[in-house]
């Protein structure tokens, strides 16, 4: 802690996703960007503890929708998450109800 290596900005984008969320409604699928799911204007407003450090954290990331009792339809995600070793593909079939099933794919080349 007192003698630290200089790693400034190493973690700037770690835990942030790019890709798309999809709400599977009866009258058709609705695609949402990550910022639309968060209802934030920018990732700068996202607290560190809302970032995605493991696949199951997607539920915390999407808490605005998952915790809304009016949203009962399935929410899925396809995209990538920033890690210290680069982008990793991330897929979740049901973000809110089956967070443990979210899984990484291969790291991007």
């Amino acid at each position: 802690m007192f003698l630290r290596e200089w790693v400034m900005f190493s973690g700037a984008g770690v835990g942030l996703v790019k890709g798309r969320f999809t709400l599977h409604r009866a009258d058709g699928a609705v695609t949402l960007s990550p910022l639309e799911v968060l209802a934030l204007p920018s990732y700068l407003a996202l607290p560190l503890d809302r970032r995605i450090y493991e696949p199951a954290d997607l539920k915390t990331f999407a808490a605005r929708i998952c915790d809304d009792p009016r949203e009962t339809v399935r929410l899925s995600f396809e995209g990538s998450v920033g890690t210290f070793s680069g982008w990793r593909t991330l897929t979740a079939h049901d973000v809110c109800n089956e967070p443990a099933q979210a899984h990484y794919g291969d790291a991007h080349p």
């Binding site: 802690m1 290596e5 200089w6 190493s10």
Partner: protein
């Protein structure tokens, strides 16, 4: 010359440059003023008295404003700098790392802690300070005027800190995830997603090129900042790098701090003479 005598000569040169260095204290005085303003700007709002949710936090704010003001004007300068350093250490190590105060564990805060700590060990109050003004008014008929001159080993340590920072920053980036542009893209996504310049984060093939340029520049700066004959090219390049960081990314006070610390690289006596010259004292013999 034998290798041993060449090595001992190099060590002697290094000691003359480092531990034994003496010279004008004006660059240190300028750094003290600028760093204290940066500390004010960085923390003033966060430790203002209306932010206090406990007596302890109010006392921290009082200490912060009192000591930083003393550092700025140069009153009891070394004690003030030591007090600011201790205050910043408390905020960074105790409140940031141990209590989890958001934002106070950042590396730009650590850089301020190191800078103020080294200034506290230096004679930075001998120039541009209330201490100097008092000493001048107390000096009798031009006698016993304290010289703007002193030990510069803390200034050399600040310069070495700059080099270490560049070197380890480059080492941290020397891997596929950065050089391929992925981590740079992540760094851009953080501030730019949802903004007007969002297309910047999908620069495609340009990102790896930018990433490689950043790493090469940091490795070069780590060593080249000490090569005086390269300064005309290297120092503007370093300053430009930090200006670009400041404009493109939310680096907070990091860029401003680094730019100020570049004063530690310059020849102190040349800075002294330059300040004499721009104040119109160029034709009178300058005194250090």
């Amino acid at each position: 010359m034998s290798p041993i005598s060449i090595a001992s000569e190099r060590v002697a040169d290094f000691m003359r440059w480092g531990a034994d260095a003496r010279g004008s204290t004006r660059p240190l005085g300028l750094m003290r003023i600028a760093i204290s303003i940066i500390v004010f700007v960085r923390f003033g709002n966060e430790v203002s008295l209306y932010q206090g949710d406990s007596l302890w936090f109010v006392l921290l704010g009082l200490a912060f404003f009192g000591l930083t003001s003393m550092m700025l004007v140069g009153y009891m300068t070394q004690a003030a700098c030591a007090g600011v350093a201790l205050t910043l250490m408390t905020m960074h190590f105790y409140m940031g790392h141990m209590l989890g105060h958001p934002g106070w564990v950042s590396h730009h805060v650590y850089l301020l802690v190191v800078s103020v700590s080294l200034l506290a060990l230096s004679p930075c109050g001998r120039s541009f300070s209330w201490d100097r003004y008092r000493a001048l008014t107390q000096a009798q008929h031009g006698q016993n005027i304290p010289p703007e001159y002193g030990d510069l080993w803390p200034q050399r340590l600040i310069a070495l800190q700059l080099a270490a920072l560049y070197f380890w920053a480059a080492v941290d980036k020397t891997n596929w995830s950065f050089l391929s542009g992925q981590r740079l893209e992540q760094a851009f996504i953080w501030p730019y997603m949802g903004r007007e310049l969002e297309p910047v984060i999908s620069l495609g093939a340009i990102l790896p090129v930018l990433a490689i340029i950043v790493v090469v520049v940091e490795y070069v700066l780590a060593f080249a900042i000490f090569v005086r004959r390269w300064w005309a090219f290297i120092l503007p390049m370093g300053l430009a790098l930090h200006a670009v960081f400041y404009v493109l990314l939310p680096v907070n006070t990091y860029s401003a701090t680094m730019m100020v610390l570049y004063l530690a690289l310059l020849d102190p006596d040349a800075v002294h003479r330059f300040l004499d010259r721009i104040q119109g004292h160029g034709h009178s013999p300058h005194r250090l």
